[in-house]
């Protein structure tokens, strides 16, 4: 009886829980944005709109942002934006899956706490957009430089804004070549490794680290891009014979490379390698001759529907996309901007996109939707190494 009673009470409590879990919450409408009257004061209409929006934004006083980009980005943007407009940025950081879980649960409960998402495109395309939480970013554009095709053609890589989906909810504000291949220069002489094919040489057997290709992240993306777009899947069958070590932690991978434990690392974030290089480690990022892929990394932006601070969010988005905003962002992120007029000083030249070269796109909606299959393929292929 002593044992039975707790079990019965527990089961009863579970039933009550199940019954309360069933119905989804209804959403609550957030306040609608007001229209923008046009008056004649010698100013152009966009300037009038900007003034009005800025005034309203300063009343709102804050922009709520969720990001996967890291603390340096938070600090750089908060300081500079506040200094210019006297509006605070409340930036919460997290990993993609955690960030999405929070936002989606908040929305279901009728809580609208986020204005802007700034981070990796995969989270947007696989979670936020399918949940219907986004608005087309163009609705926030006030400054003419984002609406005039001639100005866009001059300022932006590829001559256009790099939209990552068909409904223009997700814009890539960072665009860089991600070779994801780095070597220890004490163990690999210049010219010994020129591309992916060279890694299949038996002398590199047991000397390669691979970032976990079975999960979302740099390793998973790298596996998918190389297999589906650059080298073909048989490349990875050959790579398996090289007995690579699979590691989840990016930082540990680069540390091992720097210590000389391994000679080559694949599927690594170039900004980590850069950091070690700057500290004096004998490392180098290589651009494989077979081609690199284009990515935004943690540099894509979206505008949430029913934003709690719509005017402040508009001011922020417009500012972030200007040369000034992009300069702060790119420097903090450590990766080139999608704008051509933003300095790449201090960044590894292998990251900078070369004009005229064709790059495989790795962060658009189409690729994101294929990734689940890529992860399953990686699991099957690398199962012997993961046993």
């Amino acid at each position: 009886m002593k044992i039975l009673l707790p079990i019965l009470v527990f089961i009863a409590a579970l039933l009550i829980t199940f019954l309360s879990c069933a119905a989804p919450q209804e959403t609550v409408n957030a306040p609608a944005n007001s229209g923008v009257p046009v008056t004649t004061e010698g100013k152009q209409s966009w300037e009038l709109e900007w003034d009005k929006t800025l005034k309203a934004a300063q009343k709102e006083g804050i922009v709520s942002i969720v990001s996967t980009a890291g603390a340096p980005v938070r600090q750089a943007l908060s300081d500079s934006f506040h200094k210019k407009y006297d509006i605070d940025l409340d930036i919460m950081m997290g990993k993609g899956s955690e960030v999405a879980a929070r936002i989606i649960s908040q929305r279901k409960a009728g809580l609208y706490m986020v204005d802007v998402y700034l981070g990796g495109a995969t989270t947007v395309q696989t979670q936020l957009k399918p949940a219907g939480l986004l608005e087309p970013l163009e609705r926030t554009f006030i400054l003419p430089e984002f609406k005039d095709p001639e100005i866009i053609k001059k300022n932006w890589w590829g001559g256009q804004l790099r939209w990552l989906d068909d409904t223009h909810t997700n814009l890539a504000i960072a665009s860089y070549s991600s070779p994801s291949l780095a070597v220890n220069t004490n163990l690999v002489k210049p010219g010994e490794i020129k591309g992916y094919r060279d890694l299949l040489d038996p002398r590199w057997k047991g000397k390669i680290i691979l970032n976990d290709p079975t999960q979302a992240g740099t390793g998973g993306k790298h596996f998918g891009i190389v297999g589906s777009r650059i080298m073909g899947w048989e490349y990875w069958d050959q790579m398996l014979k090289q007995n690579p070590v699979i590691v989840v932690d990016q930082r540990l991978m680069v540390e091992w490379l720097a210590q000389g434990k391994y000679a080559v690392v694949l599927g690594v974030k170039p900004e980590i390698v850069q950091e070690f290089e700057e500290a004096g480690a004998p490392l180098d990022i290589l651009s494989p001759v077979e081609g690199s892929y284009l990515t935004s990394g943690s540099g894509s932006i979206t505008y949430m529907s029913k934003a709690p601070h719509p005017d402040a969010a508009k001011i922020f988005i417009n500012w972030l996309l200007t040369q000034e905003g992009q300069t702060f962002f790119a420097k903090a992120l450590g990766a080139p901007s999608s704008r051509l007029d933003v300095s790449t000083e201090g960044m590894d030249p292998n990251l900078v996109l070369k004009p005229g070269l064709k790059y495989v796109v790795s962060d658009d909606e189409k690729f994101s939707m294929e990734q689940a299959d890529h992860f399953e393929r990686a699991k099957r292929l690398f199962a012997p190494l993961l046993k």
Binding site: K2, M93, T214, V248, K261
Partner: protein
């Protein structure tokens, strides 16, 4: 005429309702989710697809066995070590024993991941400092590594320091409350000191030891961060890694993750019944109405052996990794010694000039203090009702107090998120505030706090309360006037434990915090996400410093109040 509705019944109803909301409800979300095709609240249908996907992974069985093996090995080693250490620092005349006990508190709160990075620097088979030193000895240049951190032994080693420390913290109050006359009687009968430890002390402390040990075993089953870092290069995979992997997917695979966590739940239920069966209705009273003797055991010259043991243990498991942690914060890249000019103050400068530092510190203190004080009171009530009363429903209360650890921490955090945002009791109005973090922190510490209290409450003799009630005091008055003063050291211990756990808690708060309620631990996490672990380590050092200060204050306060007979 007897009132049909007594105060005790009302208290029990309130307690059961609160506990059910705090523990059964979030777990119910997880159980519910394991049989659905989508997350709770999303449109879906009933299905076993989550279970099929979870258990179709052929490596799952091996991961389960690995988890059990590491968990058992780690638990047994740390339990034996902790019992011996507690005996030394609480029951004997070992020099500096108070200082040693204090240092174990510090050891528990050292942040796990930076500590593990420190062990890698020391014990990597190729470039680890210890192994390079080993190979520099004559005739050993081509020898294999002395210690390899990427192995089963390495994983267990990386956990020993922190696991032993938490057991020492949890066992110590019970050791302290033991009547020395029991051991003296044994020695007068010809038993040695060690014999008295094994035949008298240890059996009487079984409830405290077993409760904490079983808790520790459950926690070891959930551990994955250290296992992920150290296990993957050696192809060692544990069960919790599989759960974590499923939640890392975008979108996360909730149904199979929840299905896997059902294994944890069944394990916890089995452990709860095992604990009850072992403890049973035996007597473990060591503090009775006739007062109790607190006299240290005189070890003679052996006290220097015990002193050396504690000093060496702390040097290896606390000072060594702590030293590397601090050194790492002053390097450009932690651990990268073989570069020109590896040193830098920039990480400290960046952290100290971050405008979020002070607000985060303030939030951490508020949450920690509130959770520590309110949590202590709440856990003591749960424990008292479970152990000291005959109220109907007390077994249900005790059972529910285990539940927060019935699923891995990250799933419990998800469960709490869904409860607070979408549950039957509206809590949206406090979502994003520190209040919700205080509640969440109390919930996650229920198993620990309650077990620590239970371990000492079971040692109290009945005559203490009976005397009070015979004189007309209610059970609340008795609790307040008799039980609380005797258990004051335990209150302090649990309060401080809860405070310090809140200080470094990440999983509990990561889904519930907002910009206004950001804590120090979240700030640390943000630096790790930003691939700047050195700044995270700076915050880790700050947290350690706060731990030292708080432990010093608590030690002084707690020892004064609780030692009156």
């Amino acid at each position: 005429m007897r009132s049909p509705f007594q105060l005790s019944t009302l208290v029990m109803i309130i307690l059961l309702s609160v506990l059910a909301f705090m523990t059964v409800y979030p777990l119910g979300m997880i159980v519910f989710g394991s049989f659905r095709s989508s997350a709770p609240g999303d449109p879906g249908f009933w299905t076993l697809a989550g279970y099929r996907e979870a258990f179709s992974d052929p490596s799952i069985i091996k991961a389960m066995w690995t988890t059990l093996f590491i968990g058992i090995a780690r638990t047994v080693i740390t339990m034996i070590t902790a019992v011996f250490i507690c005996w030394i620092v609480v029951r004997t005349d070992t020099p500096f024993k108070g200082g040693f006990e204090f240092l174990f508190w510090i050891g528990f709160f050292l942040p796990a991941l930076p500590m593990t990075m420190g062990w890698i620097l020391l014990m990597d088979p190729d470039y680890g400092f210890i192994n390079r030193l080993w190979r520099s000895l004559p005739f050993l240049q081509n020898a294999g590594p002395l210690m390899n951190i990427y192995s089963y032994a390495g994983i267990i080693w990386a956990h020993i320091g922190i696991s032993t420390s938490i057991r020492v913290i949890m066992f110590a109050p019970a050791f302290r409350n033991m009547d020395a006359s029991l051991e003296e009687s044994a020695r007068m009968s010809g038993e040695s000191n060690i014999g008295a430890l094994i035949k008298i002390t240890f059996p009487l402390l079984i409830p405290a030891i077993m409760g904490a040990t079983l808790l520790g075993f459950i926690r070891s089953m959930e551990a994955f961060e250290v296992e992920l870092l150290l296990g993957m290069p050696a192809k060692i995979f544990v069960f919790a890694t599989k759960v974590y992997d499923l939640l890392r997917w975008e979108p996360p695979k909730y149904p199979p993750a929840m299905a896997l966590s059902m294994v944890f739940m069944l394990l916890v239920f089995a452990i709860v019944f095992l604990n009850r069966w072992i403890v049973g209705s035996r007597q473990y009273v060591t503090v009775s109405g006739r007062g109790f003797l607190q006299r240290p055991i005189m070890l003679g010259k052996w006290k220097w052996a015990t002193f050396s043991f504690c000093a060496l243990y702390l040097a290896i498991f606390t000072f060594l990794p702590m030293t590397f942690l601090v050194i790492g914060t002053f390097m450009k890249i932690s651990g990268l010694f073989n570069v020109p000019d590896p040193w830098s103050m920039r990480h400290w400068t960046a952290v100290l000039s971050d405008p979020l530092l002070l607000p985060s510190l303030k939030n951490s203190f508020i949450i920690g203090l509130a959770a520590g004080i309110l949590g202590s009171i709440f856990f003591s009530i749960i424990s008292y009702i479970s152990i000291r009363t005959k109220l109907r429903g007390k077994n249900v209360v005790e059972f529910m107090s285990w539940l927060p650890w019935a699923v891995p921490g990250i799933l419990l955090a998800l469960g709490l998120l869904w409860v607070f945002l979408g549950g039957i009791v509206p809590m949206k109005f406090i979502y994003g505030t520190v209040y919700i973090l205080i509640i969440a922190q109390i919930i996650t510490e229920i198993p620990t706090g309650t077990r620590v209290f239970s371990g000492t409450m079971i040692q109290l003799g009945k005559e203490l309360e009976e005397s009070s009630r015979v004189l007309g005091a209610s059970w609340i008055r008795t609790f307040r006037s008799i039980v609380v003063p005797i258990l004051a050291p335990t209150f302090v211990a649990v309060g401080v434990l809860t405070f310090l756990s809140a200080l470094r808690s990440i999983q509990t708060v990561v889904l519930l915090y907002s910009g206004k309620s950001r804590t120090l631990s979240i700030l640390m996490l943000e630096h790790y996400i930003g691939l700047s672990p050195e700044k995270g380590m700076v915050i880790g050092v700050m947290i350690t410093f706060i731990v030292i200060v708080v432990a010093l204050i608590a030690r002084a306060f707690g020892l004064k109040v609780g030692m009156k007979n």
